[in-house]
Symmetry: C2
Subunit: 221 residues, 2 copies
DNA sequence: TATTGATATTGACAGTGTCAACTTAGCGCA
DNA sequence: TGCGCTAAGTTGACACTGTCAATATCAATA
């Protein structure tokens, strides 16, 4: 008997990869931090401290998979929030509220999705233009794109129906509009997470005002 | 002779606290990551691996001091960018551009300023409203507030002169406007850092369009 | 039935954050 | 002047980490 304790657990787990992701996700959620050890994740999954290396080449990889799961959940939540909503303006407000609430409810997970744990360790030299592709795992990138697509669709629909002052055929106009909204929503989420708003308003109210400001503008008409 | 090597370095460093912050800042900047060890910071400063504990009770504390330094630099940079600019609209564009550029030039530092390394390890239960104060070090919080104040001033000036459609006497209107702008700028900075914009435009152009969208609104007039 | 390949295990290693105990040296006070 | 206090440095130890290498298990397949 070489195994430490001989509970009649099979030698091979069967679905360890998924189990590890779930354990790590639970840890992130509970501790609101991802500085837990890979060994603890393994312990939770009931395997030896080195078993994870059969499924993830690094701790970073596991965290990347967790981030991807987070993006998928976010995407689903936004889709659910806008399902059946016809008016693009209303859909935008609902989608944005869903987004921000998801982030605020699990700040550590939200941070992990965009987090520095996934950044390339190598120093990235940057020119004055913003080029695509960074060092984050492909899995997380793809899942993130899926979430962003929900937003893009709303904008496109709004442009098509003339609800937004954007040409539905101009890719760049659409992109700028989406970027503006995504920036605002992403930023607000993080400021809320950091408790940096100084506002006592409920989150939904805040999101409402933010998006309305974006739609209507700050300058006098 | 108990000391490892007897170069004639004095037993007491003299200004170790500052030296440690500088070393850590340099490491963050070089490696674009703050997973370096506290011991390496000590090595850089030329002291033993435990010397830092006389000035910082945890590694987190040191990183907090670095974050505070980052906020001060950001504040100075914004102030320089808007110095002598009379028109609030122009000032807003200039200040925002300075902000985003600062973030993009040293992404790891920017992340650290708002980063999860400073978050409370304890699980934070959150109600539906956004309350102030989080677990980040007072030093970093104060420095962050100093940077935000620059933005607030611009908004206030704009409101006073009627450049923005905001009542200069309504605290809540001012706060919402500032929050909207800060969210957008913060969000854009992070999306750029993550190379998530998919845009090939120069940063200054991007900032310009973002702020103009915010000022003019997305809806048809 | 023997082989193989994927999946798991144990053991080892250097390096980490932090605690405890000790040393140094500058400053205020007898 | 000298003495001791205290802040600021030191070494040493500890449990624990991520990751590597070697080994064990077992299902599938030839």
């Amino acid at each position: 008997m070489t195994r430490a304790e001989s509970i009649d657990r099979p030698y091979h787990h069967g679905d360890l990869r998924r189990a590890l992701i779930e354990a790590a996700l639970a840890l992130v959620t509970e501790e609101q931090d991802w500085s837990f050890s890979l060994r603890e994740v393994a312990r939770r999954a009931g395997v030896s401290h080195n078993a994870p290396y059969n499924h993830f080449s690094e701790k970073r990889d596991l965290l990347g998979a967790v981030a991807a799961a987070g993006f998928e959940a976010l995407r689903d939540r936004m889709r659910a929030a806008i399902a059946g909503v016809g008016n693009p303006r209303t859909a935008l407000l609902a989608g944005a509220a869903a987004y921000v609430n998801a982030g605020v409810e699990n700040p550590a997970l939200y941070r992990l999705m965009f987090g520095p744990a996934l950044a390339t360790p190598a120093p990235v030299v940057r020119s004055g233009t913003a080029s695509a592709d960074s060092g984050r795992p492909a899995e997380a990138r793809a899942a993130g794109a899926g979430a962003k697509a929900v937003l893009d669709e709303i904008i496109l629909r709004g442009a098509e129906r003339g609800v937004f002052a954007i040409s539905a055929t101009s890719k760049s106009e659409l992109a700028i509009a989406a970027l503006s909204i995504w920036s605002a929503v992403h930023g607000l989420t993080l400021l809320l997470i950091d408790s940096l708003t100084g506002s006592e308003l409920a989150i939904d109210t805040l999101v409402n005002r933010l998006i309305r400001t974006l739609l209507e503008g700050l300058e006098p008409r």
